[in-house]
């Protein structure tokens, strides 16, 4: 089977998970059942197969262009979700991750695969730099989603009239602590991604830093997360402000990724 067939299969499995979790949210039973977890696990396995198949087909690490970028981002998001779920059993995250993974894989299947021969794509920095960045994005996405959940749950509790989401979303404390831990993990990967990016730039172009928009936004995101983590650890900062800052940080991350895949296309390493 070729990579596209695997990807379509992945799309189907994520669709099953997304539908299941949404139906459950509406009927208010337990959010994740063995069904949706199985769908996510199977989807993730097939997705991994799709990526490795694509790697052999295209001849370089499959992260160039929208097709591969979206697919890989979905993969990293699902990985971050599964890791968080195994550790915390917080199922509300599925409410966001399943639809997002489905949407990203849908985008991947609908967009044409970029085929490009470029010696720079043969560089060992490509798989290392991009994998680190994507793992970071996955963890930061989890942190972002938990931050949003925190704000929603806070609003529900303040309103004193609970609605659907009050029942589905975990406690404030859980949202805050999971978000806090995910930020640390995501920040770690982000830092390593920036370091490898700098080294790659040096190796490819002879300069460490070019100050393009992507590098700017990555730096801004990095600084925001430094502030967030220090504030959390030094002053016991958390809750609402941490959630809001985490959302701003994630916006910068999204911009970095979008710039790389959409605007600059495959030209990023050489740009």
């Amino acid at each position: 089977m070729n990579a596209r067939v695997y990807l379509l299969l992945t799309l189907g499995l994520y669709a099953v998970g997304a539908l299941h979790v949404l139906v459950h949210a509406l009927t208010r039973r337990r959010l994740l059942s063995s069904w949706s977890v199985t769908a996510a696990l199977a989807g993730f396995a097939v997705h991994t197969a799709s990526l490795s198949q694509r790697w052999t087909e295209v001849g370089h690490f499959p992260i160039v262009g929208l097709h591969d970028g979206a697919s890989f981002l979905a993969w990293a998001t699902v990985l971050a979700f599964l890791t968080t779920y195994v550790r915390t059993k917080v199922d509300a995250l599925g409410l966001v991750v399943y639809p997002v993974a489905f949407a990203l894989v849908l985008v991947a299947t609908l967009s044409p695969a970029t085929e490009r021969e470029d010696p720079i794509l043969k560089s060992l920095f490509l798989p290392i730099h991009t994998t680190l960045a994507l793992l970071g994005y996955g963890a930061l996405f989890v942190a972002f989603a938990m931050g949003i959940f925190y704000l929603i749950q806070e609003r529900e509790l303040k309103s004193r009239a609970p609605r659907t989401l009050y029942y589905l979303i975990p406690s404030l404390e859980h949202c805050d602590s999971i978000s806090g831990r995910s930020v640390v993990v995501g920040f770690g990967f982000l830092t390593l991604a920036i370091v490898t990016g700098v080294l790659w730039s040096r190796a490819a172009k002879g300069v460490y830093w070019t100050w393009d928009a992507k590098e700017w936004s990555a730096t801004i995101a990095w600084v925001i997360y430094v502030v967030l983590i220090t504030a959390r650890q030094r002053t016991g900062w958390g809750g609402r402000r941490a959630a809001l800052l985490g959302i701003v940080g994630f916006a910068a991350v999204v911009f970095t990724f979008a710039w790389m895949t959409l605007l600059s296309g495959a030209s990023h390493p050489a740009s």
Binding site: T27, R28, R29, R30, Q153, L157, K158, R160, A161, P162, R163, Y166, Y167, P170, S171, L172, E173, H174, S177, T235, G236, W237, G238, G239, R240
Partner: protein
Amino acid sequence: MIVVVGVSHKTAPLEVREALAVPKERMAEALACLKSEAHLAEAMILSTCNRVEVYAGAAEGDPADAVASCFASFHGRPMGELEPFLYRVSGEAAVRHAFRVAASLDSLVLGEPQILGQVKDAYQAAEEAASLGGGLNALRNRSLAAAKRARTETSIGHNAVSVSYVAVELARKIFGSLKDRNVLIVGAGKMSELAAKHLVRNGAFATVLGGRTFERAEELAAALGGRAVPFEGLRGELAKADIVISGTGATGLVIRKEDVEAARQSRRRPLFLIDIAVPRDIEASVRKLEGVFLYDLDDLKSVADANLRERQKEAAAAEAIIDEEVRDFLSWQKSLDVTPMVTALRHRAEKIRREELDRARKKLGPLSPEQEAALELATTAMVNKLLHTPTTELKEMSKSGRAAEAVELVRRLFGL
């Protein structure tokens, strides 16, 4: 046939239910009376504050009316007085009713957990009074199992609907685990005690702020395994507290916005304030402070209402489970019926008799009407006598709950 006759919160006001309640000490008497007067094979009485119901099993016919009049006479009331409140359900409807009651789908507070134990106890009492037979015993096992299934597979029992439990659940939604959280109790009233007990049971540590009578605070603190502090310590304790339950009888405010603001200076963690006093103890504007969640009695009640609506949604899922279990039970019950087997046996014997009779006639040639009658009589008697023991035994075995075994045996012995 199983019938249920009774009154419940749906059909009768409290006075009527109280008047018809069967106290524990009269249970055996009531059961004996029902059995002898209404000619019941089995009887059980479920008597709670929301319902008084007789579950009865009769060998033949529908005993609902007999049960109703017997029930009236037991309480020394004319039937006419009871009639408007009484419902009677029999057969499949009675089975469904019994299942729904046990699963708390017919309860005043949907999904309330006590009913399961009450139903269990009622069957137990009937068993002790030797008024439980195969029919009701099977109903007991299956309906209790179905109720447990409905409870574990749906969240009909989740989301508290009483004010003090609502407070605990809200605390969980804020803090996650309640372990080692500090609860400050201001004013040692009944309801604050109840809510505090739930919190302490979940691992929270209680501090009781004394009012005019410090002994009362000390008593409560001892009961909660916490400590008592004089009222002057309010601000200091407020700074340490995660959860505050205030329920004093004071006419003015006890906790003001500036108290809370002062307490919040040193910490950022959420603060959950529960004001169960009327008039209220805590200044309402503290609600606007970041990380402060204030709930008064009305708020807790509205959350309880919302929770009840959640349960009602879950009830549909629970009803589906009960439907399935009732269907299973009914088809199982049907399999116990040995009548079709008895009929088949008789048909078979009759067919053999006729065939053999015809064969004998061919050999014997023409017979006189008297001879013909004698032959008919002899063969019929023979068949009847032979089948008498198997049929009665079949019915006996089915009564003692071995129907399937009996049917299988007869099927094999007679090649049916």
